[in-house]
């Protein structure tokens, strides 16, 4: 076996994560391999510096607000959902009413009626298309949910 085969065991040895048998195997290789001993020393120095790096803890105030910030997201999600559903319903209702008014209005000429109806139909198609596209990409967003 070459030194490459012992690389992984070297990490386990460094982090004290080896079984007794693995430790024995690695130590017997280490005893006869100055290259791995040198490499292990380098990793020991690196580990010692890295272990010394401690991050500054945020102030207690931020931890106290932490749950509140998450809870606000639940509330906002509910608010936006209700807002979205009611806006869509109102738009549909308003659209039908407008179409009814345009058709029934004797003062509007046929050309104008067709133009207005085409405008409303175009807006409706655009809206449906946008919503469908959004739902399509949302369902394929690999980072949205993680299923396990």
């Amino acid at each position: 076996m070459t030194c490459e085969n012992y690389r992984d065991l070297m990490m386990g040895y460094l982090d004290d994560e080896l079984t007794a048998e693995q430790r024995k195997t690695f130590e017997s290789h280490l005893a006869g391999c100055p290259h791995c001993r040198g490499e292990l020393d380098g990793f020991r120095r690196l580990k010692s510096i890295a272990d010394d790096v401690v991050l500054v803890e945020p102030e207690d105030k931020l931890w106290e607000q932490y749950w509140g910030n998450i809870y606000n997201r639940f509330e906002r999600c509910l608010g936006w959902t209700l807002f979205g559903i009611s806006a869509i319903l109102l738009l549909i209702y308003g659209g039908f009413k407008m179409i009814e008014e345009i058709i029934k209005d004797p003062a509007l000429g046929l050309g104008l009626k067709i133009g207005l109806l085409a405008l409303i139909a175009g807006l409706a198609i655009l809206l449906v298309s946008l919503v469908r596209e959004r739902l399509y990409f949302r369902s394929r967003d690999r980072y949205k949910d993680v299923r396990r």
Partner: protein, 194 residues
């Protein structure tokens, strides 16, 4: 506000599946510091780490039904958190290089390491600042194992659970991550280590 007195994780998850925010609050309080520390290690910025860890908790509650009944919460939550952090780094890089063509196989580092704010390091010294910045220059999958091992003190078994891989793979990734970290520290002015 009602307070949840349940402490057992299985029971808490069961309550969360029924929509209990109180039970979820207990889980959040239990894991928020670890979530923040991991996020700050992955993105290198305190504000972003706070925001991303909170968003990960929010999404995990929304999708708690996807967690298998016998599964533990944190490894599953960790997947959501890391994906959010990596996605955030991708967006950041896209904003920085929006007009440049994407290089195939280019690995995800955190803002060339300069995005890793040295003020986040306690009891600062030149050596510690250098290590922190060097961690920021590691490719994401290598930075991840360094963060889990050194900043969250996870065992290899816990790491393998969180990373969906064997302990052998964890050791291998740690070897390469530490090797690259050494290379960056020995050659701090060098370009990206990929």
């Amino acid at each position: 506000m009602r307070t949840c007195t349940i402490q057992d994780e299985g029971q808490l998850l069961q309550e969360c599946r029924r929509g209990s925010h109180d039970a979820f609050e207990v889980l959040v309080n239990r894991h928020m510091k670890d979530a923040y520390r991991i996020a700050v290690g992955l993105v290198g910025c305190r504000e972003d780490a706070m925001e991303l860890s909170q968003e990960a908790f929010y999404r995990s509650f929304k999708n708690i039904g996807l967690l298998k009944p016998e599964a533990r919460f944190f490894p599953w939550f960790y997947q959501i958190l890391r994906n959010l952090c990596f996605s955030h780094l991708r967006k950041q890089r896209f904003r920085r290089t929006s007009s440049l063509p994407q290089v195939d196989g280019e690995e995800l580092t955190a803002a060339d390491g300069d995005g890793f704010d040295p003020h986040l390091v306690a009891e600062r010294s030149e050596a510690k600042d250098q290590v922190w910045k060097a961690i920021g220059r590691l490719p994401a999958k290598h930075r991840e194992v360094i963060i889990l091992r050194h900043f969250r003190d996870m065992s290899y078994e816990q790491m393998s659970e969180a990373l969906f891989c064997s302990t052998g793979t964890v050791m291998s990734r740690l070897y390469h991550a530490r090797q690259k970290l050494k290379e960056i520290l020995e050659n701090p002015k060098g370009g990206h280590v990929v």
